[in-house]
């Protein structure tokens, strides 16, 4: 059964349409990527999923049912602006939030200690949020959203403001949650995270889902336009091959832009006829490139 089903969800603010007929499903144990430029409607969509705001049209179903009481106990939410009390101790507020989500204080305390240990910040237990660095606040916010073992986790910009070591740590945690059957709706501007974590994605632009589906399939749909060639000697006449738009010499070989995928074979033949080829690759487009192509210059992200 699908954990989360959005069907033609619409949200309007005044005469501005923030989300315009977005549909997608998230299965159990899946990380779903929600991408888009700033102001594309990601946060609005997430808020509707959380039932913080109500859609003006369409429907959202949880485990096949519309919003029902008790969902708040299986929701986990990490808002973009962390959402913690600056002047309250970490332990005090995290235990409070976990209790509100129906966890016993004692269990929550045990769980909190485990997570603080795991994120290498056990000393923060008795500190106030305002005393912590931004990265550490981020970690606490992350812990707050998963402390009560939620089944549906919504993370808005989960990894922003973290150093690479901590990003790895959190990615590991997110994968672990996924493997334990948690459904995660995930938004970020870091495409490499999406490529690593998500099976399915939606790219939103001005409230519309412009691209949607399985990440692998999406990528294969986009033409391969880049060739990386590393050779021992020089290769002449690459520009003259049909379908090659640009060839630049790099440190160890060539970087070639092609307009036609079949040109790749001609390039390889030409190179092999002239010198020894060490490396040849027709590169798949990265999500980053797809994103920029789709969202285009209108994005300021």
């Amino acid at each position: 059964m699908k954990t989360l089903e959005l069907d033609q969800v619409v949200k309007q603010y005044g005469d501005k349409t923030a989300v315009n007929g977005v549909s997608f499903d998230v299965e159990e144990g899946e990380i779903y990527g929600l991408l888009g430029a700033n102001g594309a409607g990601k946060t609005t969509t997430m808020r509707m999923v959380l039932s913080l705001i109500y859609p003006d049209g369409g429907s959202i179903k949880y485990n096949g049912k519309p919003y029902y009481k008790g969902l708040e106990k299986i929701f986990g939410y990490l808002p973009e602006e962390r959402g913690l009390y600056p002047k309250v101790k970490v332990s005090e507020q995290l235990l409070y939030l976990a209790q509100l989500r129906g966890m016993a204080r004692k269990d929550a305390d045990k769980s909190l200690k485990y997570w603080l240990e795991r994120f290498n910040v056990p000393e923060n237990y008795n500190k106030k949020i305002e005393e912590l660095s931004k990265g550490n606040q981020q970690k606490i916010g992350f812990i707050a959203s998963i402390l009560h073992n939620p089944k549906i986790v919504i993370m808005d910009e989960a990894f922003s403001g973290l150093d690479p070591v901590n990003v790895e740590l959190m990615k590991e945690t997110v994968k672990e949650l996924r493997d334990n059957g948690t459904s995660i709706l995930f938004s970020t501007h870091r495409m490499e995270h999406v490529e690593e974590l998500c099976r399915n994605i939606s790219i939103l632009q001005k409230g519309n889902a412009v691209i949607q589906g399985n990440l692998r399939e999406l990528k294969s749909k986009y033409p391969r336009e880049k060739v990386v060639l590393r050779t021992v000697g020089a290769v002449e006449g690459l520009e003259q091959i049909a379908g090659v738009s640009e060839a630049t010499r790099t440190e160890e070989g060539y970087f070639i832009r092609i307009t036609d995928e079949s040109a790749g074979q001609h390039i390889l033949q030409a190179a092999m006829s002239q010198t020894e080829v060490k490396h040849f690759e027709i590169k798949e487009p990265t999500l980053n490139e797809i994103f920029i192509k789709v969202v285009g210059g209108e994005s300021n992200a």
Partner: protein
Amino acid sequence: MRNLGTVIGFTLRTKMMTKAFIVTTIILALIMTIGVNVPYLISLFSKDEPMKIGLLQGNYPVIEQSLEKSMAEQKNKDLMLLSYPNTTEDQLKKDIEAGKIDGYLKLEKQVEGTTEQFPKVIYTGTDSLGMSKENVLTSTLTLLKTKWVAKGALSEEQFRQLNEPISFESVKLQANGESKDPEKEDANKGISMMVVMVLIVLFFMTNQMTGNMIASEVTQEKSSRIMEILITSVSPLAQMFGKIIGMFLLGLIQIVVFLVVVLANLMLPHNIEPLKEMNFDISMIDPAVIGLGLLLYVLGYFLYATLYAAVGSIVSRTEDLGQAIMPIALLSMVAFYIPIFSISAPNTMLVKVASYIPFFTPTTMLLRIGVGDYAWWELVVSIALLLVSVLLFGYLSAKIYRTGVLMYGKRPSWKEIRKAMKAYKI
């Protein structure tokens, strides 16, 4: 319900542990300790010895002797008249310098036309006599003057009658024909008035303080976005009332601390005497005033607190809060000033009308209960109105709260609020 308890507990724990709360409680408790001890401190500084005044004798022996005699009969604690027969003024002046007496009285001949007038009384001293002592002397002298002017024309009996003070008594007409001891009632009224004043001031102060705290707390939660997490985990109604009740309990704890401090100070041995002198007895406090006062207090608190929470939820930034809570602060000020200015005239139309307006009921009805007149049905109606508006405004505020906490940026228009309020369940 379980969540309500969790919210109350969290509010109490986090607020009670703040330095601000602990420090203000200690400071206020210290101020109260000093206040309770003021009568004792004053008595420490004031001398118990009466003021000694010499009387220069010789000019009018009859009047001087009668003055001495009647002053001795009065046994005034503050004033003692010492007679100085056969002395000169210089000797008396020397005695003042030596500190034996504080001053002296001299009777001086006063003639108007050909008739001799009652002598002029001159007081010479290091300090002026002061109102109360001067009054004692002039009233005594007035009597002597009457006697002097009548010069034996009146019999002793007539003279005694002249001296009798006029007996004046005010009797209050009771609706049920029950008669009360007016003097005792007066004393009780005084105590009731004090209790009413204390409760009104307490209501105003705690209302403003906790109200501001609630509103700014809500705004902070909203601006730090923790509200989004809270709303997805607990119903806004439980959240709002949990906070309000938590703050209420916090205020209650503070008041209990103050009460304990004040009572402990009153029980100190050196404070019992001055209190007795002031005619104060705890049993004189009317339990109805206290009981009804507390009921009105609690209802009034909830009425205002829900409004403060609602306003706090509409504002996005703490800087804008002051302006937004202004109307409520004004309401509570009106509720404060109407009874304070009407305390000596509690039965005016203004007070009667105000006691039916829920925002003013907690203070004005209290005034009527304490020092004014009221019929039981008036009490029932005004409390019923207050209760209904607590429920109504509680519901409305929870609606606004649920709606307002998600409206960021510019202050939403009434139309937007109304539209959104229809949509959200609480």
